[in-house]
Assembly symmetry: C2
Homo-oligomer: 554 residues x 2
């Protein structure tokens, strides 16, 4: 019986649901779609990367038949090396040409390239992963070669939209394949797992092509160099810049590691058409007259170590921003990055550059569909069930409402959290058990050792700092030997607060001398010292640093 049930398991994603990784299980077969990373939120202090918690797979590794990737963005492929290393090294991986190219670089860095079975797929293919027949569908998104997936399962046809919008005039000439989607609708779609990212956007998302007009305006007006920052993966944007640059007789140089890598990979694989002579080295560009130069850079999110931030701070090794330069930030700040982006813009203006950014011109457009895109997809596919995915909880709710407006009964719409399984047989769908569906932190070289306790400590340290008080006691008399030593960071500026700390030492000495502690009972002294210091510092400063006494009996 259980063998005739399809189980869908949305996994991972900090905040977002069913975004970074999804598993499909039927009998003793598991298909994984995507394995991405998230970047830590502001309260995940010191964390480098966030990967999905795939603990559900722990005892089921031998059931995994394949991993299919929808497109080459970090939040869909960045976790793959960690997954492969966690006992899935033998599982075949399927990806479109550009996605594969980007994955290869990643696998090479982790020493996994030779051992991984990579397969190239393209729209219109049909291939099998265990009992699942998979048919990729062309989708337009903010990176070329993105795919939606039709997954034929023994209980019916499931469609995963992946990240998409309906762009009828995309830069690469590869629009989302409406006819293909309509054919699937005619065949009968059991369930859609649809991208909900843009569910707050009224209307549909404009075509990437509208950016061309804004770029033309910039190029028409700029007298000096033009510096353009965008996502390294936004190959379509890079393509537009190359075309406009050629029309305006400017050369283009690339700076920033990820941007250089991606441009090279995209060019080698034929996803970027470079007009002859337009792409030059940065050194060469810097020798040209300013009005013949475009510099493409990373840093559109204000990342402090990126090329653009370094230019704005005057610490870029090769590019000094000068009055007359025009800087274009061709991106929208991701929530949480607004402050960094604003600071970069302010600093660029301070140096005298002109800055063109999303609030001032249509210099960026999203890769995710808005409400009308979602309705169009529902209209084409006519799914029986809708599982909104890819988005935070509110996006899923709003996407679900669109589904209702399109005639799907509320009972056929599943708004689920990560780890909440949804079960299907040929007739119906229902909620199954809840499995681990959180995320795992990567900090430095270690996966998974940072948990809530460490994060809470980091937060407390960030707020008020710490004080360590080292006290030595005579083993026999229980009386202090010498003065206590106080070590502190992040609490007060030690150089200006000598008296505060000296007085704290006095408080420690007084409390030890006046209370008849049993010699050798260091823990009683420790808790006493902690209480005394906590009260003293609070009275003096209204702050509560983390206080750690170290009492040694010698």
């Amino acid at each position: 019986m259980a063998n005739h049930i399809l189980k869908i398991i949305p996994l991972g994603g900090a905040g977002e649901i069913g975004k970074n990784m999804t598993a499909f299980e039927y009998g003793r077969n598991i298909l994984i779609v995507d394995c991405g990373v998230m970047f830590p939120t502001a309260d995940q202090l010191g964390v480098d990367l966030v990967i999905p918690d795939w603990g559900y797979l722990k005892d089921k590794r031998e059931l995994v038949r394949g991993i299919v990737l929808t497109h080459g963005h970090e939040d869909h492929i960045g976790g793959l090396p960690f997954l492969l290393k966690d006992g899935l090294a033998d599982v075949p991986v399927f990806a479109s040409g550009l996605t594969r190219g980007l994955v290869e670089g990643k696998l090479e860095e982790h020493g996994l390239l030779a051992s991984t079975q990579l397969n190239t797929i393209q729209a219109g293919d049909r291939f099998h992963v265990g009992p699942f027949e998979i048919e990729p569908i062309r989708a337009s998104h903010s990176i070329p070669d993105a795919l939606s997936l039709a997954i034929r399962t023994p209980v019916g046809l499931i469609v995963m939209s992946g990240d998409y919008k309906f762009d009828h005039t995309p830069i690469d000439g590869q629009p989302t394949d409406i006819a293909h989607l309509a054919r699937l609708g005619a065949e009968g779609v059991l369930a859609l797992l649809g991208d909900s990212t843009g569910a707050e956007k009224r209307g549909g998302t404009p075509s990437e092509r509208i950016v061309a007009d804004a770029l033309e305006d910039v190029f028409d007006e700029a007298q000096g160099r033009i510096i353009i920052a965008t996502f390294a993966s936004q190959i379509g944007r890079v393509q537009q810049v190359l075309r406009v640059a050629r029309r305006h007789d400017r050369v283009v140089a690339v700076t920033g590691r990820s941007m250089s890598q991606n441009v090279q990979i995209a060019q080698e694989l034929g996803y970027l058409e470079v007009p002859p002579g337009v792409l030059v080295s940065l050194e060469e560009a810097l020798q040209r007259p300013p009005d013949q130069v475009v510099i493409l850079a990373t840093g559109s999110q204000g990342e402090p170590s990126s090329a653009l931030s370094r230019m704005a701070n005057g610490t870029h090794r090769q590019v000094n921003i000068e009055p007359g330069d025009t800087v274009v930030i061709s991106a929208h700040p991701i929530p949480g990055n607004e402050d960094n982006v604003s600071r970069v813009i302010d600093n660029l203006f301070r140096i005298g550059a002109d800055v063109v950014y999303d609030r001032l011109a249509d210099i960026h457009v999203s890769g995710h569909g808005g409400q009308e895109d979602m309705k169009l997809l529902l209209s084409l596919l006519q799914p029986k069930y809708l599982i909104p995915v890819h988005g935070e909880y509110r996006h899923l709710v709003l996407h679900g409402r669109l589904g209702e407006q399109m005639g799907i009964p509320r009972s056929n719409i599943f708004i689920v959290e990560n780890g909440q399984t949804v079960l299907f047989d040929e007739e119906k769908a229902w909620l199954g058990e809840r499995v681990p569906g959180g995320w795992v932190f990567v900090d430095g070289g270690v996966v998974g050792d940072i948990g809530p306790v460490v994060l809470r400590d980091r937060e407390a340290l960030a707020r008020e700092g710490f004080v360590v008080a080292v006290v030595m006691l005579d083993n026999e008399t229980g009386q202090p030997i010498g003065r206590p030593q106080i070590v502190s960071r992040g609490f007060v500026y030690v150089r200006d607060n000598g008296t505060l700390l000296t007085n704290a030492e006095e408080q420690i000495l007084a409390t030890i001398s006046n209370n008849g502690f049993t010699p050798g009972d260091t823990s009683a002294v420790e808790s006493r010292v902690r209480r005394v210091l906590d009260r003293y510092f609070y009275d003096e400063t209204k702050r509560r640093p983390i206080i750690l006494p170290v009492v040694v009996s010698v």
Copy 2:
């Protein structure tokens, strides 16, 4: 000679310029306009408030003739108690009725109410502060009783817009006084210090009244309770809610300390017209049928301890959100608060509430004018000089460009940072010296003791935590006594990493035994221990916690 020069000094504001405080100096006379606080940015870890650095006034306290407040928002009045306590207790303070009411509460908390000379002013008054004649002008903003200021100085007429927009149909019936501004323009304005906050906004800012339509829609559709979160100071918004509630036969209860206080003050002073029977206690409201209830709450910025956040987390003592409740977030997230606001919205949807927020409906409108408001003000005043203020650097630049478009020569537009003085005589204006113009942190009960060193430490602690290693050495042999003691927080989860820390102790013992340190030379041992631990932890974890060795020789 220097006595015939007017010096304008923009002070304070974290990021924003000339926002929180401005000083005007002529001869031995200083006028201060506003004294506000800023809330700390995400990287100002543990800081509670940010106040302007008024170090320039240090040796000039006896020259200060008066402090004029433009309106009652925290970023314009919140620093006043700190300023008065810093040697200006005798200086008269001038404020409009509502602003004075809000200031009084603040002064009372600081025990300053009895000793402060408060004067009520209103639009159309003329009064003197030293050699300055001040004439307040009615301005519409997101709090009632806001003022622009005409300041007649011996060198000419200066206008400070304060925070404003042109709202021709404001809720309190008090539009920005265009005729008054036009008269000043006819008189001849030497310089405008104009609000630049909205300089990125194309077009003009809509009237507060558009929110009424969105509220009507919400009230028409809601079946259960309606919970509305907005800024506590947004008295105009509260007024609209009261009116719509009465039309729909609902009572209104207020929760959240600042909201309750402000509603009470505004009502007492006649700035809030409460229809009879509409305002009830929360206890009373909770006994009514859900479709007769509105709850006004704080928390529109997702502040973790606010009423709305507690409702969303299920920790509010009185209000449990239930399916059927409609929550309206009548505000736009201030940059930096987006994550918190999103989390609140997600959690409210999770509990089953319907949530209406700015992305879905016109449920909020700004109190700051957009580009067309700024042009209208320039057109009315026709100032010879423009000093864009109130905004981050990019806003000032954009405001300056609007000034150029309106015919002010570029050389008459001063884009300055805080502390950059601008000098005027009757003929011309020029840049003067640069004085301290930064800000000062208030953390806990202490003003000004947190500086860059402490913040850097807090940041490092937040990222990787710390390790303190206590080592005791024999005074004579230089050899360790007992085992080193390692204390750590925020680095690794200690309970799971016993081996890592035990091995670190071994590393310490080994390095001390193998290197012939001079007995008693604790600092050599300390730097050695720091190096060994740094390398060891980096090799094992790729992290670099703050390492503090405490070596004691006994």
